[in-house]
Amino acid sequence: MEKTTSFKLNGKNVRLTTSPDRMLLWVLRSDLALTGTKYSCGEGFCGACTVLVNNEAVLSCQYPVQNVNGKEVLTIEGLQKNGELHPLQTAFIQHNALQCGFCTPGMILKAYSLLLKNPRPSSREIVEDMEGYLCRCGSYNRIIQAIQNAAQTMKGRIS
């Protein structure tokens, strides 16, 4: 049975009618054509599909669309403000914290949610928080550096 779900997506109101059990990932990627959120493992083992729901990182491949009703969703496309990169994005660029870039949107959004809770994480805290996030290119060290660098730049002001 189809249902109408209303939520805020990257600051804009969205209303769509679809089956409520469908996973948010597919609604974003195919219904809304927001393709920055990636499909990789499809079962919640890699983190590539991460988006923020009310500032919490969730795996959108495992997250039914009905659960976002009335909430705020942020995808990688919504991270820039007025065409300006978020400090995390800038830090990823400066540290070359990516190669193929396929895991990058998920990495950045997971890091964003971490910095919200912990504005100055140690590298151990970053590793613990990001452990479920896979980068086959092996950019992990640079990702840690980028997150710490971004944390320094932001001085606790995440968004």
């Binding site: 195919s30 959120t37 990636k38 990688i76 991270l79 990516l98 396929f102 092996g138 950019s139």
Partner: protein
């Protein structure tokens, strides 16, 4: 050339690449100066590599647009390895333009020069030289045009940042963009201009950030699965439970009831199509199908025996002296067998393709390392002439050799034709693990001998299915023979040695060979009573290799002692297709759990002239991290044609917590032309870690991956054998 240097593919298709006529080409590109350059150099280099001739009208193009921006066209693709940056640096350097006005156009068969594919750490090495030559020629053409414009002689002009000016009066100048405006000029120079000497470089050779980062951190970067074509349907395909299984019955009635679903059946191909991927998934799950599976003959427990029994006649890869003489010169002899399990590529981006057919033309967007090969495959399956198929390669999310084959592209093409709609095929992770062309399981046997002055005088090497790359001895060994009984290639199950597809995996052959070779070297070092670094230097005459070893040792900082020292230091070195490297590692092993913690890895690499030092470092780091996977966990579990690992829950790849401290040393060697760097550093990882484990525990692991269970088992065996003095070591004397 060795057999496994080839990517096996149908060159018959490759000999008819797209050749656009000039008008069509201009239509695609708009105006600008087009410099057409002869690919003679590339032809010659590739000819030596491939043993085949490319068509004579094969040209590569660069374009200087009216807006002053410069497009660079290459048949290579970007999958993370970073040529998107290093090619741009090479072009900008020779053309005297700023890096930020270069636009890379990669892997588009309608716009880019033919290319065999992006693999084998070959991009910079083989495409780099003709690209530089083209840019140098373009610059010379522009100077000629500027001379006409400024009414002076070309010799009185200089170029910088896309501006040509009079040396004596820099105010008299003209930009490349002004020269290009409104014109389409094609010139060939009779005399090829020289490319710059590396000492004059200001862009090439300078650490440079990736040019694709901004797109990749904002989500703007498009991968094949991000392509949206009006009317496009997502296809999900019915798969057998095992390789070699045959469909015996099928019932699609439940799936058909789903709204707007389209079911396609064409011989072996059964697919459900829907405008939403997840709905297609749901429909696929409703199909009831039965399969007949072939008898299970091999699994992880007997695969090595099977491989040895399946050996074909050996090919001699390298030979010198006489093994009999080597034996008689040997004071001590050593014999060991090394094993390596199947390993997956596990790219982050699954194999994906979009195919749109309009009339007698098809456009393909695909995650592929070989777009021109894909063009041929699609043309064949659609029965179109090659030039009617355009393959566009968006960013590719990892390849590692796993995207040389175009199965998903052919599937999308067939389904687009059958359905009459644009179709996207994106494999699920389970399909990814099923249809991967795995790194083959392999067995290496080595017999070696030392004389009384601790020189290696005998080396007999038998290679079962690893592939022969990096198996030629680089140590100075007077009597050696290297035999290969089957390479890394081979697809499918029928008649194949392997129960499923295998293929090139980052550093094909070399990972297994270097593991075996460098383990054997350490075994001999211990028997010689020498530390492993000293023993290597003692047996090397190749100064380049000695230099990288010393560079790594200097950075490593610790001195090696005769193993096992208990410190957990490891060492391995190799020559990967002309790139030399030495890796050193420091590890800790938990004897109770068998778990290994890699604390630190140092890698010194001599890649010849370096285009982007930052890019080379990134590749080395990535190689080291990825290599830890096949050292410790990565092993495909299978039963016959059934692949038991289906996702990252059981197939563990390296994650954040595994990270060692990584230090890279780029050994300066600019006189040597640029070599490859995407693969070399991963190939030493098995050897360096196995040697470090031995140094820590006094127990040698002969099987990759070195799982905690295998380490515990080896420890228990060692403890048992030290009680039983009759078996002192897994290494027996000849």
């Amino acid at each position: 050339m060795k057999d496994d240097e080839y990517i096996p593919f149908d060159l018959g298709q490759s000999e008819n690449p797209v050749t656009l006529d000039r008008r069509e080409f201009l239509k695609l590109l708009g105006g600008g100066i087009i410099v057409s350059f002869s690919m003679g150099d590339l032809f010659a280099l590739q000819e030596r590599q491939w043993g085949r001739a490319y068509p004579e009208d094969f040209n590569a193009y660069l374009r200087i647009g009216e807006d002053g921006r410069v497009s660079c066209f290459t048949g290579k693709i970007e999958m993370g390895q970073g040529v998107v940056t290093s090619f741009a640096q090479m072009l900008a350097e020779e053309l005297d333009i700023p890096l930020n006005i270069v636009d890379m156009v990669m892997g588009d068969t309608a716009l880019c020069p033919w290319d065999a594919g992006t693999f084998g750490s070959r991009s910079t090495k083989y495409f780099g030289p003709p690209l530089r030559q083209a840019a140098a020629e373009a610059r010379a053409v522009l100077i000629e045009l500027a001379a006409e414009h400024l009414r002076t002689g070309p010799e009185s002009l200089a170029a910088k940042d896309g501006i040509i000016f009079m040396k004596k009066d820099p105010a008299k100048k003209v930009s490349y963009a002004q020269l290009a405006k409104g014109k389409t000029i094609e010139r060939h120079l009779e005399k090829k201009p020289a490319i710059k000497h590396y000492s004059k470089h200001t862009i090439s050779g300078i650490p440079t950030d990736r040019l694709d980062s901004r797109q990749k951190v904002t989500g703007e970067a498009k991968f094949s699965g991000d392509i949206r074509v009006p009317g496009m349907l997502f296809a999900r395909i019915l798969r057998p439970p095992a390789h070699g299984a045959k469909l015996t019955s099928i019932d699609t009635s439940a799936a058909e009831k789903i709204k707007d679903v389209q079911i396609i059946r064409d011989n072996d191909l059964v697919a459900v199509l829907h405008q939403h991927r997840d709905v297609a998934d749901e429909a696929l799950g409703l199909i009831k199908a039965r399969f007949e599976e072939p008898e299970v003959k091999v699994d992880n427990s007997n695969i090595f025996q099977h491989l040895k029994e399946s050996a074909s006649d050996g090919n001699v890869v390298a030979e010198a002296g006489n093994l009999g003489e080597g034996k008689s010169l040997s004071n001590q002899a050593f014999e060991a067998e090394y094993y390596n399990h199947y390993v997956a590529h596990a790219p982050t981006e699954n194999h994906t393709a979009v195919v749109k057919i309009e009339g007698d033309k098809a456009t393909v967007w695909a995650s592929t390392q070989a777009p021109f090969r894909a063009q041929g495959e699609v043309a064949r399956v659609l029965d179109f002439p090659s030039q009617n198929v355009r393959v566009i390669t968006p960013f590719v999310g990892c390849g590692f050799g796993g995207k040389n084959q175009g199965q998903q592209i052919v599937e999308a093409a067939r389904l687009a034709k059958l359905s009459g709609k644009p179709v996207q095929v994106a494999w699920s992770r389970k399909e990814e693990f099923f249809y991967d062309t795995f790194r083959p399981a392999a067995v290496i046997q080595i017999r070696s001998g030392l004389n009384s002055s601790n020189q290696i005088v005998l080396w007999e090497y038998h290679n079962y299915f690893a592939g022969s790359r990096s198996s030629e001895p680089f140590y100075s060994i007077p009597h050696h023979r290297v035999l290969s009984y089957g390479g890394w290639g081979g697809r499918g199950s029928a008649g194949s040695v392997h129960p499923f597809g295998v293929g090139a995996w980052r550093g094909p052959g070399s990972n297994t060979n270097v593991f075996a070779i460098e383990s054997q070297i350490d075994i001999m070092a211990e028997a010689a009573g020498m530390d492993p670094l000293e023993f290597r230097l003692h047996n090397l005459t190749d100064e380049r290799m000695k230099r990288v070893l010393r560079a790594a040792a200097e950075k490593f900082g610790h001195s090696f002692s005769k193993a096992p020292s208990g410190k957990g230091y490891g060492i391995a070195c190799t020559d990967y297709l002309g790139t030399y490297l030495a890796t050193m590692a420091e590890i800790k092993v938990n004897k109770r759990t068998g778990e290994v913690r890699v604390e630190r890895v140092v890698c010194a690499q001599d890649t010849g002239e370096v285009i982007n030092p930052e890019g080379v470092r990134m590749q080395i780091e990535g190689c080291i991290v990825m290599g830890l996977g096949y050292c410790f966990t990565e092993e495909i579990r299978f039963r016959g044609g059934r692949i038991l690992d289906e996702n990252f829950d059981t197939y563990e790849i390296p994650r954040f917590s595994w990270l060692p401290k990584i230090e890279t040393v780029l050994v300066d060697n600019p006189e040597l032309a640029p070599q490859g760097c995407g693969e070399p550093a991963i190939t030493s990882m098995g050897g360096v870690i196995a040697n470090a484990v031995y140094d820590a525990l006094g127990v040698r692991l002969f099987v990759l991956p070195m799982t905690p269970a295998r380490i515990k088992e080896a420890l228990a065996k060692e403890q048992g054998s030290s009680r039983d003095k009759s078996r002192s070591s897994p290494v027996s004397l000849l």
